[in-house]
Symmetry: C2
Subunit: 146 residues, 2 copies
DNA sequence: TATTGTTATACTCTATAACTATA
DNA sequence: TATAGTTATAGAGTATAACAATA
């Protein structure tokens, strides 16, 4: 037997998730970037990164990274630089234009957090985050079982 | 100036969203279906539907629906049936196999809701849902402005 | 031997534009 | 004229497999 309140709670979480996702799509259209390329730029936030690391971080194949980097090179967001100590590897490195995009992404992320949660009392925010945390933990435990 | 608590709250919401998404990917791998085809099957939950309606519901082009339906016909999940009163239209209709998949999707959705929220006190669940609701409303208001 | 990245190939999702059949 | 769906074409993301260069 199904509990309607639980299903509605999930409906709402999914709805919020969809809204956040469409907010990102809006940025992608404006910037001419795609979801996958934005994701890659986001991963460059801490500085130049090997393609291997990017493949692991994004959970895709190295071949896929090759294609995404090709696109970002073509659009002037990154360059491939030699790795200082491993001649097999390349360091995907943001250009000035690429850094501007990364910084803008980080700002949009913070703005989004502000817009979503900025008006909440701290007490309610704390309780909300606690529930999300418990939910994540419960979920992680379930995934472990499989 | 950025408020770290707000960013962390968004981090966690995104994390949960990612976990839910990877739970769905797991089903897709098992069933041999793709995200887009699962989405289409989900839309058939209320019964046979025209391709035009599906295009609107899924916010993609009619051409795209043609391709997705082709795939689901090939995998035996749906058939194209004539519309009883409009000879231009086709009704995408689940087969027995397709219905089984739809029902399984609905069950997985309910199970997920149970797993995520089933252990929460009703009071905490209510407050949690209230915050999500407010967040959605605030967000919708922001989207209006643009 | 193992790792990094690329070439080769293929499938899926997605879009626009032009077209056919029907309303 | 307008609508439902398809054919034609193209771009992006993704995967596997085989390969070259380097560790």
């Amino acid at each position: 037997m199904v509990d309607r309140a639980l299903r509605e709670a999930l409906d709402k979480v999914m709805h919020l998730s969809m809204l956040i996702s469409s907010d990102m799509t809006r940025y992608e259209k404006e910037s001419g970037l795609t979801t996958a390329r934005v994701h890659l730029l986001w991963e460059l936030g801490d500085g130049p990164t090997t393609q291997q690391s990017l493949a692991v971080a994004m959970a895709v194949t190295p071949r896929n990274i090759t294609g995404l980097v090709d696109g970002l090179v073509a659009s002037g967001h990154v360059t491939r630089e030699p790795h200082p100590s491993d001649r097999r590897a390349t360091l995907v490195t943001p250009t000035a234009h690429g850094w501007a995009a990364v910084k803008e992404l980080q700002k949009l992320y913070d703005d989004l957090a502000q817009n979503l949660f900025g008006d909440l009392d701290r007490e309610r925010l704390t309780e909300y985050v606690a529930v999300v945390d418990e939910t994540i933990a419960r979920f992680a435990a379930l995934m472990e079982e499989l």
